[in-house]
């Protein structure tokens, strides 16, 4: 077999070369050296695939946005294209999202208060959940994948860091109070239990959660074992509800059984909370199945109409950016207090954590965080009506959100995010 990877020369000084060509954008992965990004590794299969697609589609000059939408469409399409094509699309998008994830990981590493992970680990955590970015991305709302992905990766990483803290909670009962139903179901599915068992366990957990609550004064992280009366009432409620849910079969459950189920839930949650992130290093893209590329199902081309729409959205987004940049320039000057301006400057030029800013200003980190948020909300409120006016668009929640995203980017650019 051919060597599946090849190094792409690093064309600019550290941190790393920003990819620009369509081929490299959709076929290369970030390579790491000593926990730092070292360059780009091309995945041969992806490279062939994108070159193939470029030559096959007439719009070889299409923008990166076109290709993002193109692969995203294929990835979403579970009707007409096969699983193989969808996997391929996902890998192309994964390659594309490397920078966004790196940016999020870098920000998280400088801004989360405590972390035992390095940028590389955080990057891996983010990339593992790449599908969440793809699922949530809504191109029809005019979002840019880059912005959206950066913010989602950032939350994913933040959540993972918090989850690692959660896993340290010793009491299984406290742990069970801190999970969402969704996470519990997914954890049980990973064990794996069958669908019916999961439904029973989840129902038992719902009953438990309703009936066994900490008292406000107690330390809920060290929630003690429920007493037998509690187990009995949980069991009785479970029994009543399981009949309504069609889950009752055989003899009624005993309190002991319910307790055992819940202990198993806690074990499953704990296992799901701490996946071994560090063992997942190395370049993604397995490089196998290269020969299958030629037999890939022909994926539907976006129609000319859709392409136009995509272009139009792209233009609109750019228009939004341009107009906003001008408006923001004015708005930022109106932030009167010098202290507020200094705060924005320090924070958005990067590298300074909120607690460091707090020390410098002689205020607490909480206050810094809150003040930053308030300033952002103020700017947003000032800008929104004018943006809607200038863009001739009705002021909608989606527009507010878009302005919020652009604002964040703009603040970083304005204050020179040089520390990347």
């Amino acid at each position: 077999m051919l060597s599946p990877t090849k190094e792409v020369s690093v064309r600019s000084p550290f941190p790393f070369y920003r990819r620009a060509e369509i081929v490299e954008l959709f076929s290369t992965y970030l390579s790491w050296n000593m926990g730092r990004p070292a360059g780009w590794i091309a995945d041969a299969q992806l490279q062939l695939s994108i070159e193939h697609s470029l030559s096959r589609l007439a719009q070889a000059d299409a923008s990166r946005r076109f290709w993002v939408l193109y692969w995203h469409r294929i990835w979403q399409d579970d009707q007409t294209v096969g699983a193989e094509a969808r996997r391929l699309a996902a890998r192309h998008l994964c390659a594309y999202l490397q920078e966004a994830c790196y940016r999020a990981a870098r920000r998280a590493s400088t801004r989360f208060t405590s972390t035992r992970f390095e940028v590389f680990d955080l990057f891996q955590i983010g990339m593992l959940k790449c599908d969440r970015v793809l699922r949530g991305f809504q191109p029809e709302r005019g979002d840019s994948l880059d912005n959206y992905a950066t913010s989602v990766f950032h939350s994913i990483i933040g959540e993972a860091l918090r989850q690692h803290q959660e896993a340290d909670i010793s009491s299984p009962w406290a742990l069970l109070r801190r999970v969402t139903q969704r996470f519990l179901s997914a954890s049980l599915g990973q064990v794996p239990y069958d669908a019916r068992t999961i439904r029973c366990y989840v129902l038992a957990w719902i009953c438990f959660r309703e009936l066994y609550c900490p008292a406000p004064r107690r330390d809920s992280a060290r929630l003690a074992d429920p007493d037998s009366a509690t187990w009995q009432s949980v069991c009785a409620l479970y029994h009543r509800e399981s009949i309504g849910q069609g889950l009752a079969a055989g003899p009624p459950p005993t309190p002991q059984l319910i307790e055992q189920w819940l202990r198993q839930c806690a074990v499953a949650v704990r296992a799901a909370l701490v996946p071994d992130v560090r063992s997942l290093g190395g370049a993604p893209g397995d490089g196998t199945a290269l020969d299958r590329l030629e037999t890939l199902p022909v994926v539907q081309q976006p129609s000319e109409f859709e392409r136009l729409i995509a272009q139009e959205q792209e233009q609109e987004r750019e228009a939004l950016h341009e107009r906003l940049n001008a408006l923001l320039g004015e708005a930022i000057i109106q932030v009167q207090a010098q202290a507020d301006r200094d705060l924005l400057q320090l924070y958005y030029q990067g590298g300074t954590t909120q607690s460091e800013i707090g020390e410098r200003f002689g205020i607490r980190q909480w206050t810094v965080h809150r003040r930053l948020k308030r300033l952002k909300a103020q700017l947003l409120e000032q800008l929104a009506p004018r943006c809607a006016q200038v863009l001739h668009r009705p002021l909608s929640l989606a527009l507010l959100e878009a302005i919020g995203t652009v604002l964040e980017e703009w603040l970083q650019a304005y204050h020179g995010d040089r520390c990347e």
């Binding site: 139903q181 008292a215 965080h369 909608s396 929640l397």
Partner: protein
């Protein structure tokens, strides 16, 4: 501590206040929900205030204890809009679950739903996303077991800094989805339901009746309150004759009712005041209300009448000499909100007072309402005989 999420700190004072608000609720689940809800509320109210939004608890502080035993979430009135703060303790912000009551009861539905994750030990609240009612109805998945609408994190607007603008500014899109009306519950059925569901030994009583029925029951402020009282095992709290004889009950006082002794004035008119030696000729109950930016007083007193047991409800401005403006209506309704003959008085032009007199039989209950609706209005059922 970063990303789009907003972290708020709750001071020890705030935590203590939350404990005090929660502990009287009795049942551990209600206490815990109240505690989380209060912590979230403390953070959100401060933050909104800083952002220039005046947020008032809806329908009012006094009503909160009768919400928390059944549903998580606290509603805030911000100007003309309503914001529901959904407090949860799960540390993973991967889904938001909103109780169906806050979505499908027309009188309860909010404009926006805000996800708040509470860290009770750390004294922190994280706001991690919000969504409009309309969008929620479009994208949420309904969970029939828990009667909740489930949203994936990706469905929410994650930039919480957008919320003050959304509350302040006039958006071009509607925030609420249309809702179907809930069924009407006849009085007899409501009382049966209250008796059954009011048994504190029955866990999660709301799961034992279809949602429509439950929703209709709980949507009625008086019935919601009654259910809460029954589950706590409290004695009758809303008997007006008892209030007159023995003083206003604690919950009556919480609602704002006060009792006054009336004494004869030399001029023949009756004035209110503490007894000063003169023989009391009667008792008066009053409740202060704020309507359309001004203070009013609702008065309730027994009237001597050949027609038996008659009560007089009267609305007048708190400021002596101020009229009740045109458009105001004082209306009495039966407990199940049915009207009856001569049950309302309305002001066509400025009037000194609005009043309705009603003759009652043993066991009769009534509820009152006023147009425009008083601030913090929560329907109450008064037992008049």
């Amino acid at each position: 501590m970063d990303s789009n999420d907003l972290w708020l700190e709750i001071s020890e004072v705030g935590r203590e206040a939350a404990r005090q608000r929660a502990e009287p609720l009795g049942a551990p689940a209600a206490v815990w929900r109240a505690y989380l809800g209060s912590l979230a509320l403390a953070g959100v109210q401060d933050w909104l205030c800083e952002a220039g939004c005046v947020a008032r608890i809806w329908p009012g502080e006094a009503a909160l204890p009768s919400f928390w035993p059944w549903v998580a979430g606290t509603a805030l009135a911000v100007g003309e809009r309503r914001l529901l703060v959904v407090a949860g303790e799960a540390s993973m912000a991967d889904e938001l679950r909103v109780p169906q009551e806050w979505i499908d009861i027309p009188g309860w539905a909010a404009d926006y739903y805000l996800a708040a994750q509470v860290e009770p030990e750390a004294g922190a609240v994280q706001l991690w996303g919000f969504i409009s009612h309309r969008h929620l109805k479009e994208v949420a998945v309904y969970d029939a077991q828990c009667r909740q609408y489930c949203l994936l994190a990706g469905n929410l607007v994650r930039e919480v800094a957008c919320l003050p603008a959304a509350l302040h500014l006039e958006l071009a899109e509607p925030t609420r989805a249309p809702l179907a009306a809930l069924p009407t519950v006849p009085l007899g059925q409501a009382r049966q339901l209250l008796a059954r569901l009011g048994d504190p030994a029955l866990p999660m009583p709301q799961w034992t009746v279809p949602f429509g029925l439950w929703g209709a029951l709980i949507a009625h402020g008086g019935w919601r309150q009654k259910l809460y009282e029954l589950r706590l095992g409290l004695p009758e709290q809303r008997s007006v004759p008892d209030w007159i004889q023995a003083g206003v009950s604690p919950l009556g006082e919480l609602a704002g009712w006060r009792r006054w002794r009336l004494r004869a004035e030399p001029g023949g008119t009756r004035a209110r005041g503490r007894p000063r030696g003169g023989p009391p000729v009667g008792m008066l109950l009053t409740r202060r209300l704020r309507i359309a930016g001004a203070d009013y007083e609702l008065q309730l007193q027994p009237v001597e009448s050949p027609h038996g047991n008659v009560w007089r409800f009267e609305l007048q401005a708190a400021e002596v000499g101020e009229p009740v403006p045109p458009g105001f209506v004082l209306r009495l309704l039966a407990e199940d909100l049915q009207g009856f003959a001569n049950n309302e008085d309305s002001a066509e032009q400025p009037v000194e007072r609005l009043y309705v007199e009603v003759a009652v039989d043993l066991g009769d209950t009534l509820t009152w309402e006023i147009e425009p609706e008083p601030e913090g209005f929560d329907r109450e059922i008064l037992r008049l005989a």
